[in-house]
């Protein structure tokens, strides 16, 4: 017979759960409001969501570092906190983008915001646990929400994108479960820290290498999909193209940073256990990713698609940092994303600003390069802002991404992987071409005759401008806050034991 279970509430440490609960509750509230009264304006939901995220952020900031909760399922370590902060800040930039001057399909659904909040909860769970089940469920919750959010844009390409993403995601889920099964088989546990112990104990057993590496390979395949590493990246450009611009920008940061954190937890554990294969494999994937994505970005005709490829390439950088697996490299992952996030979101926001229902310049593309031709004449500030984002993405100092880039490169140099730093450098140089191409179009080409101001300004509104302002400010002024940011991140990463 089972004995009755007595658990004190304190031991559950509910606080660790609070941020996610806030998000879920927020989602439910929105659903309820919709039930009570239909056809409320989206601005209400936007502001509600913003508030909920704000509270969520407050809860995250209130968390204590290195706590476990709920039967040790929850793990609130430093990187969990930083990632949550990143997720929430990005979300706070993302949500106001709903307040365009024109109406878009997805924002007519209150469920959009509810799903968004559920997604947030899923992501937050994913990063603040080292239990493979919770990671899996969090991953799926967020993914399923995300597929829907993409599809809600309600265009051909959106559905196509959602389906592609979904199907490949299902395959990745298969890989993830298989990988987990193998790890479970080795260790009899689904908690990463216990797996680590068990693997450590058994590492010399016959046949163990095959199992460990095999399991790692499956997990790597799953996370490579999420992080869009070559050759698992194929969904990314299409999904970015099909999704609305803000969502594409959001996707290029948030799901990836969560996936990166989880990979950090899993793969660095293995690397530190001495499984060199993992490091090698990740490095190979990372190098392939940044290079191939870069050269494919070169030939794109659409800015959004170009940015998609560029995001893939940046993911390659991140993955390389994870392979390096030092405190500095891990810190650089967060620094990189923290900086990249603003710039990239800003760039996508600029695309959002110039979004039309029907494409003027190209039958298929929303944002072909020609669209931006002569933007300096039509919309000078816009052009300058966009140019700043492009320069930042290309890694021109002192704009934000540069600092992340040199920190990663430096951590590569530190462990003697100068070749990796050189590859990164070469890729930055290649990438400069396509970023520059946009600048060339904006500054050096004549605008199409009928490209009038109203066409370009079509979608702009105060909230969008605010978001742009914030991102520009952060992109340009990065020099002044990188120091404290880096200090905080390093501290947090160190505390988490990475």
């Amino acid at each position: 017979m089972l004995e009755p279970v007595n658990i004190s509430l304190e031991s559950l440490n509910l606080a660790t759960l609070s941020p996610m609960l806030i998000a879920i509750a927020g989602g439910l509230i929105i659903l309820i409001i919709d039930l009570l009264k239909e056809n409320l304006h989206k601005s209400l939901y936007v502001m509600l969501t913003l508030l909920i995220i704000l509270i969520d952020l407050g809860a995250v900031l209130g968390l204590n570092v290195n706590e476990r909760g709920f039967f040790d399922v929850m793990l609130i370590d430093g990187i969990a906190i930083i990632t949550q902060i990143l997720i929430l800040v990005a979300s706070m930039l993302f949500i106001p983008l709903a307040l365009t001057s024109k109406r878009f399909h997805e924002y007519s659904y209150p469920e959009f915001f509810a799903l968004f909040l559920f997604m947030l909860a899923g992501l937050q769970f994913m990063v603040s646990s080292d239990n493979l089940i919770l990671i899996f469920i969090g991953l799926e919750t967020s993914s399923l929400s995300l597929y829907t959010l993409i599809a809600l844009h309600n265009r051909h390409n959106s559905f196509e994108a959602a389906v592609k993403y979904f199907t490949m995601g299902a395959l990745a889920a298969g890989f993830f479960t298989m990988g987990s099964a193998i790890l479970y088989g080795i260790s009899g546990s689904l908690e990463l820290y216990q797996i680590a112990d068990a693997v450590q104990a058994r590492i010399d057993d016959p046949g163990m290498t095959a199992l460990i590496i095999g399991g790692a390979a499956f997990l790597l395949a799953a996370f490579s999909f999420k992080l869009s590493l070559f050759p698992f990246h194929t969904w990314a450009p299409d999904v970015y193209e099909g999704a609305s611009a803000p969502l594409a920008g959001y996707m290029s940061v948030v799901p990836k940073v969560t996936a990166a954190v989880v990979s950090m937890r899993i793969f660095e554990m293995l690397i530190h256990l001495g499984v060199e294969w993992v490091q090698t494999a990740i490095l190979v994937l990372a190098v392939l990713t940044m290079t191939l994505a870069n050269i494919m970005a070169l030939v794109q005709e659409d800015v959004k698609r170009m940015l998609a490829y560029s995001s893939i390439s940046h993911a390659g950088f991140i993955m390389a940092a994870i392979a390096i697996a030092t405190t500095k490299a891990n810190a650089s992952v967060f620094l990189y994303y923290g900086l990249f996030m603003f710039t990239n979101l800003g760039a996508f926001t600029m695309l959002w600003v110039s979004r039309h229902k029907h494409n003027i310049h190209h039958a298929r593309y929303d944002h072909p390069y020609e669209k931006f031709a002569g933007m300096i004449n039509v919309m000078p500030m816009g052009a300058v802002v966009m140019a700043l984002f492009m320069l930042s993405l290309a890694g021109v100092p002192p704009f934000s991404v540069f600092w992340g880039k040199i920190y990663i490169m430096s951590s590569a140099v530190d462990v003697g992987m100068v070749w990796l730093a050189l590859v990164m450098g070469a890729n930055s140089a290649i990438s400069a071409y396509y970023y520059l191409k946009l600048i060339v179009y904006m500054f050096l080409k004549e605008p199409a005759a009928e490209l009038k101001e109203k066409v370009v300004y079509y979608n702009v509104s105060k909230p969008l401008m605010t978001v742009l302002g914030i991102t520009v400010f952060i992109t340009v002024g990065s020099m002044f806050y990188v120091d404290p940011l880096l200090e905080y991140i390093t501290e947090m990463v160190k505390v988490s034991g990475f």
């Binding site: 095959a210 590496i213 499956f218 698992f232 194929t234 050269i295 030939v299």
Partner: protein
């Protein structure tokens, strides 16, 4: 005395600025024509005063200010007026003064009258720096300064168009100017190398320091320095093979030729060798010195041979200059530095006079240069005829004229040194010199007036010009008389070259031989061109078609060779390089970029848009990872 040094140096500079800055854009200004010669005259007077001072008290040495100072190098603007430099100063300023006055007449109708004087005075200034500097770098300033001034002056009539080589061997003034500049630059490189060698082994470029340090230097090094510096001298003094620019430089206005290509600039090379006499007289570099003498002799003969058949009045004079420079180098190379310097001075006077006379002829003949179109001019231009005659006699080295003393001394030296080949060559050349000088005189001033049918209306130069030329004529006659006095003066500074007793005894014989050759030359010229039974003035086809005539006429095909083996290959190589630069160097870069771009184009095809393909990629990727894992497990 310092102020005199500065006056001598800067008076021409002031003149140049005066003409250049204030009158550059105005039409001909009499003021310029007066002030500039006056300033040069002032410089001359200062030089005279300095010469007296030097003779009495020894050298004057002033340092104006630092120029370049870096690391261990310290180059001041320092000026040294000693016996050698003051000789040069006197020659330069005197000839310049005359030329300046002369130019008033000669350039009378030129619309760039003022500009001409600016250049001319600037040239004098550069020349003064060259001779007065107390260090090699300062000398180099003047060296390059005269180079650029000669570039300006040769190309003075820059608006003339290029003509084919067959029509005009010197193509155009601007072409000739560039040629002169570039050729000089080739030699300058040698000179620079010499300077570098000296600096890195001595640590200074000051003459006195260098001379003091010379005995401590290794033999090979000394030879190197001597060769390098002589290469520099070869360029300025137009020694073979860097001689072609001198004849082409006759494209410039005639006063320029008189000043630069007779009296001053071309002698800079000789001056350098004389200046560096402590080096060249060293035992270790005797080989180089001998080479200098040999080359000088060769050039003397070589140039004279070309002058024999030249038809261009100025070319004849130019070639004779070249020839005489050869004499000077021969003397310097043989160690008779003071004789070289003496010949330099004497030559300056009579050659300037000759040029100016030729200028008069040209002026009268509307810039016609072909002596076949002249003749009988003595009737209309008696003054010029006399001057030209005097100068030619001096050049030919007839007794009691300046050329006799100096040239004779050189030939004597060659005999004295036992270098009989040089001696013979020089003697023969002396005969040739006499021939071509008088050929030219007879051609232009004697015989029938061939210009009449061609419609020329010759008239003599302005009186004041002719008067101004008088000092040169006087010196051309009388300069040789001061030889002994000069020797006493100059040998305070330069090694006193003494003939051996043996030579001394037969000196009269040697002199007589030279005179004999000269007289024979003149006689042949007279017989051919002026005498009763003189041949027809018409051109002789048979002679002109002969191989030797062709060879001489084409300057031994040296310009052709340069064009064919240096200029054209250079142009072709440059074009090829450019092509390569575009195709290979730039092409490589573009190819890399294109390869990357094409790789992008190729790899984007993996993005088919078909989900099934994507899944295949993903599956293949996963499988690859897992297979790699399995393999790695097996291996590991």
């Amino acid at each position: 005395m310092e102020s005199l040094v500065y006056i001598a140096l800067f008076a021409p500079f002031v003149g140049s600025l005066f003409a250049g800055l204030f009158f550059a854009r105005s039409p001909k200004s009499i003021l310029v024509g007066v002030v500039n010669p006056a300033l040069i005259g002032v410089s001359f007077l200062a030089s005279v005063a300095l010469a007296m001072h030097v003779a009495e008290f020894g050298a004057v040495h002033v340092t104006m200010m630092d120029w370049i100072s870096m690391g261990g190098l310290n180059i001041p603007f320092g000026f040294l007026v000693d016996e050698v430099s003051v000789t040069m100063m006197l020659v330069v300023t005197l000839v310049s003064t005359v030329v300046h006055i002369y130019s008033n007449g000669y350039m009378d109708h030129d619309k760039s009258f003022n500009r001409f004087f600016a250049y001319l005075s600037a040239f004098v200034f550069s020349m003064m720096i060259l001779v007065m500097s107390d260090n090699l770098a300062g000398l180099f300033i003047g060296w390059e300064g005269v180079g650029v001034c000669s570039w300006l002056l040769i190309g003075f009539w820059y608006h003339k168009e290029d003509k084919p080589f067959e029509e005009n061997p010197s193509i155009s003034p601007s072409w000739a100017a560039n040629e002169a500049f570039i050729m000089n630059r080739i030699a300058d490189l040698g000179m620079l190398v010499g300077i570098f060698l000296i600096y890195w082994n001595v640590g200074s470029l000051q003459y006195n320091v260098v001379f003091d340090a010379l005995p401590n230097l290794a033999d090979g090094l000394l030879v190197g320095i001597a060769i390098a510096l002589f290469i520099g001298a070869m360029g300025k003094s137009a020694q073979f093979p860097l001689h072609t620019w001198l004849t082409d430089a006759m494209e410039g206005p005639t006063p320029v030729s008189a000043l630069i290509h007779a009296a001053t600039m071309v002698t800079a090379g000789v001056f350098l060798v004389i200046r560096m006499s402590p080096l060249y007289s060293m035992e270790a570099v005797s080989g180089v010195s001998m080479f200098i003498a040999a080359l000088g002799t060769f050039v003397a003969f070589y140039a004279a041979s070309m002058a024999l058949i030249a038809r261009d009045i100025k070319r004849i004079v130019a070639l004779s200059t070249l020839s005489q420079l050869g004499y000077m180098f021969a003397a310097a190379g043989l160690g008779a530095y003071w004789i070289a310097l003496f010949h330099l001075a004497a030559h300056a006077f009579f050659k300037a006079l000759l040029f100016l006379g030729a200028g008069n002829v040209m002026h009268a003949m509307d810039d016609e240069l072909d002596i076949f179109k002249m003749g009988g001019l003595r009737k209309v231009m008696m003054g010029s005829y006399i001057y030209m005659g005097i100068a030619s006699i001096a050049l030919a080295g007839l007794p009691f004229f300046a050329g006799f003393y100096s040239k004779d001394a050189i030939i004597e030296t060659a005999f004295n040194e036992g270098t009989y080949l040089i001696w013979i060559m020089l003697v023969i050349t002396a005969g040739m010199t006499a021939f071509y000088s008088f050929r030219q005189v007879f051609f232009s001033f004697h015989g029938e007036e061939r210009w009449k049918p061609l419609g020329f209306n010759p008239h003599d130069m302005y009186k004041y010009v002719l008067v101004a030329m008088a000092p040169l004529a006087i010196l051309a006659i009388s300069f040789g008389w001061f030889m002994d006095g000069y020797k006493a003066f100059i040998t305070k500074n330069l090694p006193a070259y003494e003939m051996s007793d043996h030579t001394h005894h037969i000196a009269w014989l040697l002199g007589a031989l030279v005179v004999l050759f000269a007289v024979i030359g003149i006689w042949i010229a007279y017989r051919k061109y002026a005498g009763k039974g003189a041949m027809a003035w018409q051109r002789d086809e048979k002679v002109e078609n002969s191989f030797i005539y062709k060879l001489l006429e084409n300057q031994y095909y040296v310009p052709h060779a340069y064009d064919r083996f240096i200029v054209q290959p250079y142009i072709v190589a440059s074009d090829k390089f450019w092509e390569w630069d575009n195709k290979i160097v730039d092409g490589t870069v573009d190819t890399i970029a294109k390869t990357i771009y094409d790789a992008g184009d190729k790899s984007r095809t993996m993005q088919t848009g078909n989900l099934s393909t994507y899944l295949n990629w993903m599956g293949a990727g996963a499988l690859l990872l897992i297979v790699a894992a399995a393999i790695s497990a097996v291996i590991g």
